[in-house]
Amino acid sequence: MRLDSKTAEKFAKAIIWSAALLVIAVLLAVIIYILAKGVPEISWDFLSQIPRSMGRSGGISSTIIGTLLVTLVAVAVATPFGIGTAFYLTEYTREGKITRVIRFSAESLAGIPSIVYGLFGFIFFVIYLKLGWSILSGGLTLAIMILPTIIRTTEEAILAVPYMYREVGFSLGGTRWQTITRAVFPSALPGIANGIILSIGRCVAETAAVILTAGSALQMPESLFSPARTMAVHFYILAREGISMENAFGTAALLIILIFIINVVFNMLVNRFVAKGR
């Protein structure tokens, strides 16, 4: 049966529109369901009290702090290494063997499943480096995980800066370091910030790598060496063990809201970046 082109066109359009609507529907279904059941659970008590009796009651304050600290460590470590690598690849060398190898490493790191990162983090940070289950172990593991993202976005941001800026810097007697920091970096900054925010989102959402490295202790962490539970891990444990559906929903809702805010900030920055006249 051959449809004539007009009918085929209509048919195809119908399918394509339905696919798009299906995707939106799914997104809404997931988000609305979680928010509807979870937002009512969020109260000041929920946010400020630590979990009691394995999370059946109390709040999730220690997990909020846990998430914050682990993310902070990850970003603090990955950002200098990521930005430095990106600057090296774009400003200090030409394309050659070394850059290809480094780029290959970065892209490979990006593909490794988070559970394998969890295994690595466990064997390297927790056991071998004797850091134990700790925020440090979790943060360092996540740092390696987000490194490729930061490298990629920073590189794009640097390449978007017009070449003339560098020529001007050099022609005024600047060294490479001075030209980069004064003429290139400020223009690339919004793009770099984007990458960091994207990575923050990934850290907040990550579960598999964190549970094997930062542990799942419920107490409020006292230092970077303390074990901690992040919100994502907390949600997983609550849901899987059926400990408390209400608290699970509350945690999930908070997570979604947090990620939503991060995305909004990200988009706002992107728009300002574009508006600056690229």
């Binding site: 030409r94 003339m164 800026y165 560098r166 020529e167 001007v168 810097g169 050099f170 022609s171 005024l172 007697g173 600047g174 060294t175 001075q178 004064r182 003429a183 400020p186 223009s187 600056k276 006249g277």
Partner: protein, 251 residues
């Protein structure tokens, strides 16, 4: 012709296998405007960029011969490239204000040279006055330079170079993107300051050379064809090729 500021001896310049400048010998006098003109791809931009060693930034270039600045070869092993570029400033063919304020643009060279902060205000003002831009921007020094018009931006770039108090100023078709009014303002500034600097300009028209340059050099395909007082080269050229180019038979 006064004292020689720059002496080029036997310069050959290669981009990998392609030769862009062939056996160039020329003496550029101090405190005068020397124009180097010719059709595209004659090696003029290459020459200018070699004079401040901006050519070093391109991979695969090779230089033979010497360029003596005040008698000292700029390719010598002990020469500091960054210092050289402070002595030999460059203005590009397109206005290139950096995304910062007018003040920060002008002050950039000084800040990178780590010169004392106290003097910077004064140097910025002097530079802007010499570039004939001071009156137009003195009330908005800390606004973004990008908001200036094209002609103003190019004068900003000239001021930026002047702020470093160079000895030589290189200009690569500085007015090619500008309207005639801006062009004449810039030509006027250059004529006014030429007694204090050695200026080498690649004009975008032969007429510009005639308007402001004391000496003129005609380059074709990497070779120096003719060099002398501007009036002689333009109205009484010795070489047939010069004559053909100046009269517009080819371009």
């Amino acid at each position: 012709m006064g004292r020689t500021k720059i002496e080029i001896k036997g310069l050959n310049f290669f981009y990998k296998d392609k030769q862009a400048i062939r056996g160039l010998n020329i003496e550029i006098p101090e405190n005068e405007i020397t124009a180097v003109f010719g059709p595209a791809n004659s090696g003029i931009t290459t020459l200018l960029r070699t004079l401040n060693r901006l050519s070093d930034l391109i991979y695969g270039t090779r230089v033979e011969g010497e360029i003596l600045l005040d008698g000292k070869n700029i390719f010598g092993a002990d020469v500091s490239v960054t210092e050289l570029r402070q002595r030999v400033g460059m203005v590009f063919d397109v206005p290139t204000p950096l995304p910062m304020s007018i003040y920060d643009n002008i002050a950039l060279g000084h800040r990178m040279a780590k010169r004392p902060k106290a003097q910077i205000n004064e140097k910025v003002e002097t530079a802007l006055k010499m570039a004939a831009l001071w009156d137009e921007v003195k009330d908005r020094l800390h606004t973004p330079a990008a908001r200036l018009s094209g002609g103003q931006q190019q004068r900003l770039c000239i001021a930026r170079v002047l702020a470093l108090e160079p000895e030589v100023i290189l200009l690569d078709r500085p007015c090619s993107a500008l309207d005639p009014v801006s062009t004449s303002k810039i030509e006027e500034s250059l004529s006014r300051i030429k007694d204090r600097y050695t200026i080498v300009i690649a004009p975008h028209t032969v007429q510009q050379a005639g308007r402001i340059a004391g000496r003129a050099a005609f380059m074709l395909m990497g070779e120096l064809i003719e060099y002398g007082d501007t009036s002689d080269v333009l109205t009484n050229p010795k070489d047939q090729r010069t004559s053909d180019y100046v009269t517009g038979r080819f371009g």
